[in-house]
């Protein structure tokens, strides 16, 4: 018996999700702006710090952990708005909601694609920011590790924020208001991981806390975002 249109087409959910990720990645790679804009933004803002501080190398190094993480947060915020907005505007979001693939899984796919397009480049690019901020080289490993563990949470919580605000015309500021408080723990543990490692201490506690937050977000955020999408599509 055919209960649902998707029962007629024998497609595995994994194939659909992979297609979803691949589509977003292709769009990102072709448009490019989603990838390079956060990086250019970071570079621009990081230039302002020495200009404002008067090029004191010591001051720069001491604020580097905070600056690196705040920049990663702000640069990601620029791109969060688009996670669901475009799909909502062209109607493809409704097909995700109606498909046999669970909506939370589609949310996870969208967040994964977003992370591959922004979080991962930010992590790879971070040593350049670190060099500009005079961060000791011994802390580079921990810095990249903390970004690797923290940026996926930004993408997940950001996807939730984007789902909450997608049908609003000027939702950008609201998205920031909603997402920033939720990301405060990521910032705290991320920046303090780098700080501890510049002081020569072990940062494993902070990195484990970041991992815990990531696992927690992975399990709950897709459901919250899917609920938000369903409310918005009603």
């Amino acid at each position: 018996m055919i209960r649902h249109i998707n029962d007629m087409i024998p497609v595995k959910p994994a194939t659909v999700l992979w297609a979803l990720i691949r589509r977003d990645l292709l769009l990102g790679v072709r448009q490019k702006s989603q990838i390079y804009q956060p990086l250019v933004f970071q570079l621009l803002v990081v230039t302002m710090f020495p200009l404002g501080l008067g090029a004191g190398a010591k001051t720069l190094a001491s604020i580097a952990p905070a600056v690196i993480w705040v920049l990663a947060l702000l640069a990601s915020l620029l791109t969060l708005d688009h996670i669901f907005k475009v799909d909502h505007e062209d109607g493809s979001l409704e097909t995700y909601a109606l498909s046999a693939v669970p909506l939370p899984a589609s949310v996870l796919a969208k967040a994964t694609a977003h992370w591959l397009l922004t979080g991962l480049p930010l992590t790879v690019f971070s040593p350049i920011i670190a060099v500009l901020m005079h961060l000791p080289e011994s802390a580079f490993g921990v810095m990249m590790g903390s970004l690797l563990l923290g940026t996926p949470t930004i993408s997940l919580i950001g996807a939730m924020g984007s789902a909450l605000t997608m049908s609003l015309r000027h939702g950008g500021l609201l998205l920031t208001v909603l997402v920033m408080p939720l990301l405060a723990p990521v910032l705290i543990f991320g920046a303090s991981a780098i700080l501890e490692s510049t002081l020569g201490n072990s940062a494993s506690g902070q990195l484990l806390a970041l991992t815990a937050i990531l696992v927690f977000s992975l399990t709950l955020v897709p459901f919250a975002a899917a609920t938000a999408i369903r409310i918005n599509l009603e």
């Binding site: 939730m160 909450l164 605000t165 049908s167 609003l168 000027h170 939702g171 609201l174 208001v177 909603l178 920033m180 408080p181 939720l182 405060a184 723990p185 705290i188 543990f189 303090s192 806390a209 937050i213 927690f216 709950l220 919250a224 609920t227 938000a228 409310i231 918005n232 009603e234």
Partner: protein
Amino acid sequence: MNRLVKLYHQLGSPPTFYRITGKWLPWLFWAGVLLMLWGLYDGLFVAPIDYQQRESFKISYIHVPAAWMSMFIYLVMGISGFMALVWRMKVAEAILIASAPIGAIFTLLALVTGSLWGKPMWGTWWDWDARMTSELILLFLYIGVMATYNAYDDPRKGARVAALVAVIGLVNLPIIHFSVQWWSTIHQASTVSLFGQQHIPWSMLRGWLIMAIGTKLYYGYSVLKRARLLLLETEKHTVWVQKVIEQECQNA
């Protein structure tokens, strides 16, 4: 059926909610105001002066109840948000939306009085200590709920999205609180606990407790008053609202 369960079901329907809560309002208001006046009198004039903090300790009779209320109201919002999402109760939505500004004001009051208290005690208006920071983040969460509701043209959709925002915030609140505690803190630790040794004499505690009950009753009055108005507005095309208005006109 149990009377309490019956009352709960009755309160779920906007017209009955409007009728029943109308009778509660004056009681809640006067009980709340009188208790708060008594609590303030007890705290400001009767309670002994702290040997270390002197008179400035007395600001705590506003600061502590306000901080308690800021958390209590967020809890109410989270629970009514959950009810609004699961059972789509209009009354729960109204309670949620009505609570947000009251909670935000109590949070602001706690922050401002804390700042005024901090200046003579710590020598600074503001310090990024764990409790102050979580309270500030709580204010942001309140603003998020209010801004979400206002951003939507359709108030019911706005209320449902705001309900989800409140629930998400409630789940995240412990994480934010404990991660913020990673800094060493200058704020004094909790003095009042339900169980175990009390760190404060009864004569000083009494004012806080009276204020805590008084502010809760006042919140009850305020939230019901606001929720009733919200319901009148969202239900303005229904027969019961028209009847209410006709009655009000006859009484006037």
